[in-house]
């Protein structure tokens, strides 16, 4: 018999032109289920008008990002046990810094547009992936193999970033991390955007992006590395190289 907990989900609700409110639903759950399972159960058995996004259920599509008790989580891989105790109240809210479409669904269009602006790679040669081997250990023929980029475009980093809260045009952690992944020595054409007012220097080092990223992108570290790349590119540029 699996362990049973009673938990209450306090879910943010908002439909177009209506004031927002929180609805509460008390459920019996197995604590090893995921937050998304509990939300789906609310939809299936309590309220069919609840809007939320999901697709893959295994941290690949990046659709199920929400705030759980104020902290950004990918709800399909966040167990109830990891964020709650028996009889707990879990507040579920949409991501911050994106316009709300309905309830827990936000419009992520701005993030996708910025990812396009830096031409973020969905796949990359395995020889260029940071977490594999150091560059000198690869053979030339290995570059035929590709891997998926780590970033799921889930938007958790944008929601957690204090600068993204107050500046709409700021490129933000995921797009800057995607630019770092290109390397400015390979893509000098990105320098103008990265070195612009809304680019890499806009970050104020709160490192929240790295804390919430569910996919080992470590955007905070990548932004800092991109600063180094930017300085090197400008020095090269200065000397006409």
């Amino acid at each position: 018999m699996p362990e049973q907990w009673t938990v209450t989900l306090r879910i943010y609700r908002q439909k177009t032109n209506e004031p927002s409110r929180y609805d509460t639903f008390t459920l019996e759950v197995n604590p090893d289920e995921y937050i998304l399972d509990a939300i789906e159960r609310v939809w299936a058995f309590h309220d069919r008008s609840l809007c939320f996004r999901h697709a893959c259920h295994h941290s690949t599509c990046g659709a199920c990002g929400m705030r759980v008790n104020g902290v950004e989580k990918l709800t399909c891989i966040t167990t109830i046990r990891s964020v709650a105790r028996p009889n707990a109240v879990l507040t579920i809210e949409p991501l911050r810094n994106f316009p709300i479409i309905s309830d827990l669904v936000v419009d992520m269009g701005e993030l996708y547009r910025k990812m396009e602006a830096v031409e973020a790679r969905a796949v990359l040669p395995i020889t260029e992936a940071e977490i594999e081997k150091p560059p000198h250990q690869w053979k030339t023929e290995d570059s035929q193999y590709v891997r998926l980029s780590d970033c799921l475009e889930c938007g958790l980093c944008i929601s957690a970033c204090p600068v993204a809260a107050t500046s709409q045009p700021y490129l933000g952690p995921a797009p800057l991390a995607a630019a770092q992944d290109h390397r400015l020595d390979r893509r000098p054409d990105l320098l103008t955007l990265i070195d612009s007012e809304h680019g890499v220097w806009r970050c104020h080092s709160a490192f929240e992006c790295t804390a919430v990223c569910p996919s080992f992108v470590d955007p905070g570290r990548r932004i800092m590395d991109l600063r180094k790349q930017t300085i090197s590119a400008k020095i090269r540029h200065f000397f006409g190289k």
Binding site: Y12, V71, F98, T166, S167, A206
Partner: protein, 127 residues
Amino acid sequence: MNNQPAPQRLLSWFNPLGRNPGSWAFILNRLTGLGLTMYLFLHLMVLGRLAQGPEAYEEFLALTKSPLIKLGELLVIGAVIYHGLNGLRVVLTSFGLGVRRQVQMFYLSVLLALVGTAIFAFRMFAG
């Protein structure tokens, strides 16, 4: 909830709930920055008193002996040390140095600011 990014949401910068040490450093940096800017204005106003002759200035100096003002001075000292050290942390990490140690560097900055303030407090009150 107005959920879009907007400059008027800057109060959200100061909300530490659910956030991590990196944000605490960011919040403290902003608070000490604002405090020090205010102090600078105050300081300039006080210096302006010099122009009103020695009596006015002496009168003010007497006021600075009050414990409340001394406490304020200690806050300024703590803020200067923290803001300076955190500035170094930000510069180092911006050059890619110690990024993975940024939390420890933050704790060290706070610790050194506390120790520094304590030394000054001892000299001010007991020395």
